[in-house]
Symmetry: C2
Subunit: 310 residues, 2 copies
């Protein structure tokens, strides 16, 4: 049996890095030859998590077909969010919690998706179903991924399964969810050291919506001013990104993790569809308040998709 | 919570009908309001199975959006194999054992696919994982689906999971797998009463391959002469089907379930790609022997896809 690589999406967040490690551990226990890798360097939050649990940073790869014939995807399935040469390899396994789109295989495969807040929640169920013990260190990583994806269980994507998995993982890892969680989330919000490109694109994902190329970035903060004091520079970075990558529309969602509100910044066209999607008017500087919006997946992508397809 | 419909693919085979019933039972035990329906009338084999276990035939539907907002798919995911108005409803759940293609959702969903021989095998695992007992009658149906899809565990699609599930289900249903299985498979092979259209299209599925519209039918028999004594009429039916439905290529796989060999009949173009796919030369009457080939999914679709994309 030949080796397979396991990885999360481009611009990896904590769940993308952690779920790859968790699935690789699970599959190795099932007798597979696997290695968890990443499609980019960990962000500040993920570095905090890896350091906290003394876990090594995964190797970063740009292509995979030069190494393996077969891969496993976690926390994504859309090809534009994956490795560049995905079409050159067989996808044997997917564990994910997103919609399915721009995804096609020639062969049957393992595909496990659930509409829960975090891939690591599904992986916790996989470990339990197969009666494989989760080591304390890995449980700490997986708990961190759930805290990250659900903003400490406050995101509307949060389900009872996430709450139950986090409770179980926190017990194994022996962490206090609230105090550790706030510390971890804050570690991801030191924006002063980040370039404008890191802010707008560090967590960004691409979506094809009715023929338009839509880029959506999200940045978490404890003070929205930390983001919008740099608005002019952010806008010109987004304009440059649109040109360079043929994006039609770039949305940046700045989310205040303390009160769970977001502010949207829009660059590109069609802006009227953005206004329709969120039933709002953009300000003169192309911003809109989105109170209660924290989830790109659940509160931004679906209304935008609907507005594009209306 | 509003009602959902659960159904298998068009031209339903035993697994498509049975897996819908099994998932509907499972989801009802999880508290959901669901009804198993079918996208066509049961075939002779499935009628034998339903009669044998005194199970009612599911209601046949042509559209679903007039009844429900949300559906669950079993034993398929490709939209061209599903209900005509699938794009009008939300897909909440898929349980399947095929490749994923022509499938897209706007929202996260439950998706459970495994590369095993039969959807009912995956459903058996779902029942076990959730500690839900399978009633004897339903176990009989699910065992029949596994026997049907794996040709009594002889198809190369058969996995250890299928063998284990069939063993478990046969015990619950109290059937002798070999004697019941042969009787059931033979019930599906009385071809004399079938029209040519039923023979070529009764189990057919559509595939998009590199822009070509490919239709692939399969008929099981205990004597290939029962099929090919009617070759001229079959060919003109397939030609008519190609015209009416804009198929480019129609393949009919006639499979001898006693010795696990198949004979292929090809109507339409490109025939050279078919020859390349199976590394064979078509005879003057456009046939080819495919010894050891019994699985459309595993032994016909992938080599054809590869040849089309080469």
């Amino acid at each position: 049996m030949s080796k397979e690589l396991v990885f999360g999406h481009l611009n990896p967040d904590t769940d993308a890095i952690v779920a790859a490690k968790a699935l690789a551990y699970f599959e190795s226990k099932m007798g597979k030859d696997v290695e968890a890798v990443a499609l980019g360097n960990p962000n500040a939050e993920t570095n905090f998590v890896l350091n906290h649990f003394s876990e090594p940073t995964p190797r970063v790869v740009k292509t995979v077909a030069n190494e393996v014939d077969s891969v496993m995807l976690v926390d994504h399935n859309e090809s534009q969010q994956s490795v560049a040469d995905l079409d050159q390899v067989t996808i044997s396994t997917v564990v994910d919690h997103h919609r399915i789109a721009n995804f096609e295989t020639a062969q049957p495969l393992f595909y496990r998706a659930e509409p829960v807040g975090c891939t690591s929640t599904i992986l916790t169920k996989l470990f339990n179903e197969n009666k494989i013990e989760i080591p304390a260190q890995l449980a700490g990583l997986m708990a961190s991924a759930i805290i990250s994806d659900t903003l400490l269980l406050k995101s509307p994507t949060t389900t009872d399964d996430d709450r139950e998995a986090l409770r179980e993982l926190a017990e194994i890892a022996d962490i206090d969810v609230d105090s550790y969680g706030i510390e971890m989330l804050k570690a991801g919000t030191d924006l002063s050291s980040k370039t404008e490109l890191e802010l707008v694109d560090g967590d960004a994902k691409s979506f094809e919506m009715n023929g338009k190329n839509v880029r959506i970035g999200q940045v978490n903060t404890v003070d929205l001013d930390d983001v919008f004091s740099r608005q002019d520079a952010l806008v010109s970075t987004m304009e440059k990104e649109n040109q360079t990558n043929s994006y039609d529309l770039f949305l940046l969602l700045a989310t205040n993790i303390l009160n769970s509100d977001s502010e949207l910044l829009v660059v590109g066209e069609p802006k009227d569809i953005v206004e329709k999607a969120f039933n709002t008017k953009l300000s003169e500087d192309n911003r809109a308040s989105l109170p209660g919006v924290v989830s790109r997946k659940k509160q931004v992508v679906p209304p935008l998709m609907d507005a594009f397809n209306a």
